[in-house]
């Protein structure tokens, strides 16, 4: 392995948490202060032009409001003011199909917030990419197959869309290279055990398209198991996953989220301490501590909506802290009351171990990792 790759893997954390790099905020949390989230994961709409089989968003419906450009600008200004460091457009909708998408990325970046996108990438044509890539920390394309016919089956679209996506990824890589941009281009495979046949074709496809990385992750499910993810079956895929990782080379990193896949959907902790550090917002404008709690079913956890209220007012409200405290209290048990392997999982694990004295969070030494504002 070359030194370049060593540096790269040292910096790009795809299966872990960067919470240790925000020790000032951890200390403020310890003191019982109202800390601003380091990262907000959100969407600009709940709608999507795809119909992926693994889509968790199908379980996240709630009262919809429309997030306009004005709403987003107000929100971004508030977020910057209270100290939010990174905002990713991922969450429960395809943000690229919102008219507010491009302007929001540019505005967030201009306010000093690290911006990122998780997308199916279909509408990201070259001209649009040229506008947004200079303002992004990372752009990650969800692609759960390496062959057109399986892509169409798994992601619920026409086969021809697969070829469009491949072209868009090539354009991303090309624009980055030509303009020497710092943005990281990634691919993500949400792996259900029944997509086993696509692990290696996708790893090979990535090697051809030359994004910076391919990450292969588990599929989350709700506490009722509505998506039918059979966590026990991931074990049968370990050899193939290791083989996929062997496709890594200088500048192309294939990473399996082993820690989550091997957890088999289980949590070692019961309290959710991670939410104040990274909250999620629905494409409806709803603020909830976690995407798994977006559905109207979980009304008791809903905090507010940025369409109807200013974000900073919501953040400073008693309601916000009432919900966050509930999750950290004995009233709540993440093992029983949540879906599996949420966004905050690794942060929760670290903070729970920290609380129990099994791990002491201290300021890490060494180089600051990439994407530090996305914990």
């Amino acid at each position: 392995m070359s030194s370049t790759m060593e540096d790269f893997s040292e910096k790009l954390i795809l299966d872990g948490t960067k919470i240790g790099w925000h020790i000032d905020r951890v200390k403020a949390w310890e003191r019982g202060e109202r800390i601003a989230p380091i990262t907000i994961d959100m969407a600009l709409t709940r709608a999507c032009n795809y119909a992926c089989h693994f889509c968790y968003a199908m379980l996240q419906e709630n009262d919809r409001e429309v997030i306009t450009k004005d709403v987003m600008f107000r929100f971004l200004e508030d977020a910057a003011e209270i100290g939010v460091k990174g905002i990713s457009f991922v969450s429960d909708g395809e943000s690229t199909i919102s008219p507010a998408f491009v302007d929001s990325i540019i505005k967030g970046s201009q306010l000093g917030i690290s911006m990122a996108v998780g997308t199916n990438g279909f509408v990201l044509t070259r001209s649009k990419l040229e506008q947004i890539l200079p303002h992004l920390t990372y752009l990650r394309v969800n692609i759960s197959a390496g062959e057109a016919h399986r892509y169409a089956e798994i992601m619920g679209v026409k086969e021809s869309w697969f070829h469009q996506i491949c072209q868009n990824i090539k354009d991303m890589v090309d624009i980055k290279k030509k303009n020497k941009l710092g943005v990281t281009i990634g691919l993500q495979m949400v792996l259900m055990p029944q997509y086993e046949d696509q692990i290696l074709p996708l790893a090979k496809l990535g090697k051809e398209l030359r994004p910076d990385y391919l990450v292969i992750k588990h599929c989350s499910d709700n506490e009722d198991g509505d998506l039918g993810v059979e966590y026990g079956k991931y074990k049968d895929l370990y050899d193939k996953l290791r083989e996929a990782e062997s496709y890594s080379d200088d500048g192309y990193q294939v990473t399996v989220k082993w820690s989550k896949i091997q957890a088999e959907g289980k949590r070692s902790y019961q309290r959710c301490f991670g939410a104040p550090f990274m909250i999620q917002m629905s494409g409806s404008g709803l603020i909830a501590p976690c995407g798994m709690l977006f559905n109207e079913k979980y009304k008791k956890f809903h905090i507010g909506n940025i369409v109807t209220d200013r974000f900073k007012d919501i953040f400073y409200s008693d309601r916000y802290w009432e919900v966050m405290n509930y999750l950290a209290s004995p009233e709540f048990n993440a093992q029983k009351m949540c879906g599996s392997l949420c966004l905050q999982h690794k942060v929760n694990e670290s903070l729970d171990n920290h609380i129990k004295g099994k791990l002491t969070l201290v300021q890490p030494s060494g180089k600051v990792p990439q994407h530090i504002n996305f914990v």
Binding site: M58, L59, R319
Partner: protein, 363 residues
């Protein structure tokens, strides 16, 4: 001076004082040392105020006074409470026609001079009044006896080693209100728990249960083990050491903790119709509570189903803002846990995905 553990009967105290005036010639003393500066007054409010000042000047941290029905008709109890506000945090409790008033001194910053946060006083006092777990455990059948000690104060556990469950817990070595009250509460909480669960979450359960109200907090942000009031240090250390003693003695190496309390048999046995009625009753009471964004609103509860005795699927009909509705759901769950069963969970109706494209797959 140690805290005074029992309520002083004010009527009796005055009567004894007056009797002593006639029967004692020299060495006249009130019944309690810390009241040696006190002289009763014909105005009951002024008299009690003097009493509290006397206790304060003698370093008394907390005080419990019982007023019989006969005394209560002589003055306005609310006015007394108002007069005593500057002297500390107050709680009162009605019993047998009378009232007991609990007072705990506070410093100027609102915190107790003895590190008692007013947030916890009422529950500490309540626990202190019935110390059912004070004592030691010398033998307990086949259960393993373990003990931890700090500054002469001990926590005992009798642990069933096959299930690693604490069968009995006791404490000894203190009669102080705060220490004994907290350890009483801790013993009650950890009895019946797996020792790993007690070690992992015993203290946060204690802190949570001892709050004046579940939603009340001592900090603006998140309550966690790093910002508890200092008085929780003693139970924390004793509990930690008790667990470590058990691990040393048995070589116990647990995996992840998956303990979750089950629904009580008592609640399970309640017929469905009665369950629904009880739930509706709690909802009606909640709407009557003042100071909430939904109080007094004409809202209607619809119980759609109760899964596994504790997962309540409900709808609430009526005009209420989304923010107030969300709070109502959370508050309702809290009330149900307090009034009916600690396992209760409240859910609104699940909403299906509205997205036309994604729905193609679902349908």
């Amino acid at each position: 001076m140690p805290d005074f553990p029992h309520a002083i009967d004010y009527e009796q105290l005055v009567a004894d004082y007056n009797t002593s005036l006639n029967s004692v010639l020299r060495g006249f003393r009130p019944k309690y040392d810390f009241l040696e500066l006190w002289v009763p007054d014909s105005d009951p409010i002024r008299s009690v105020k003097n009493l509290v000042e006397s206790a304060r000047d003698q370093g008394q941290q907390s005080l419990s006074l019982y007023f019989s029905a006969a005394v209560l008709i002589q003055f306005d109890f609310a006015a007394l409470r108002e007069a005593l506000k500057p002297y500390g945090a107050l709680e009162d409790e009605s019993s047998a026609g009378g009232k007991t008033l609990y007072l705990n001194r506070k410093a100027a910053n609102g915190k107790s001079t003895d590190e008692i946060d007013p947030l916890y006083i009422a529950r500490i006092m309540k626990a202190f009044r019935s110390l059912a777990h004070q004592g030691s455990i010398l033998e307990d059948g086949d259960n393993l006896l373990i003990r931890s000690t700090k500054d002469g104060i001990s926590l005992f556990g009798a642990v069933h080693t096959a299930s690693h469950t604490i069968r009995r817990a006791r404490f000894s070595g203190t009669n102080k209100t705060v220490e004994a009250g907290l350890l009483e509460g801790l013993c009650e909480i950890i009895e019946g728990l797996p020792i790993q669960e007690a070690a992992d979450h015993g203290l946060i359960k204690l802190e949570h249960e001892f709050r004046l109200k579940p939603g009340e907090r001592g900090v603006k942000g998140i309550v966690n083990l790093f910002n508890y009031a200092p008085m929780f240090d003693l139970p924390r250390i004793l509990l930690r050491d008790l667990y470590e003693t058990y691990v040393k003695k048995t070589g116990y190496r647990p995996g992840d903790n998956f303990y979750h309390p089950s629904v009580s048999q008592k609640w399970k046995a309640v017929p469905d119709q009665e369950k629904a009625a009880a739930i509706s009753g709690v909802f009606a009471q909640l709407l009557q509570k003042k100071g909430t964004p939904y109080s007094g609103l004409p809202l209607e509860l619809h119980v759609m189903g109760i899964e596994l005795h504790h997962k309540l699927n409900i709808g609430i009909q009526g005009d209420v803002s989304p923010a107030a509705r969300a709070k109502l759901f959370m508050d309702f769950e809290t009330e149900l846990r307090q009034e009916l069963d600690p396992s209760m969970e409240v859910f609104s109706q699940n909403v299906k995905d509205h997205n036309a494209i994604r729905r193609l797959k679902v349908n």
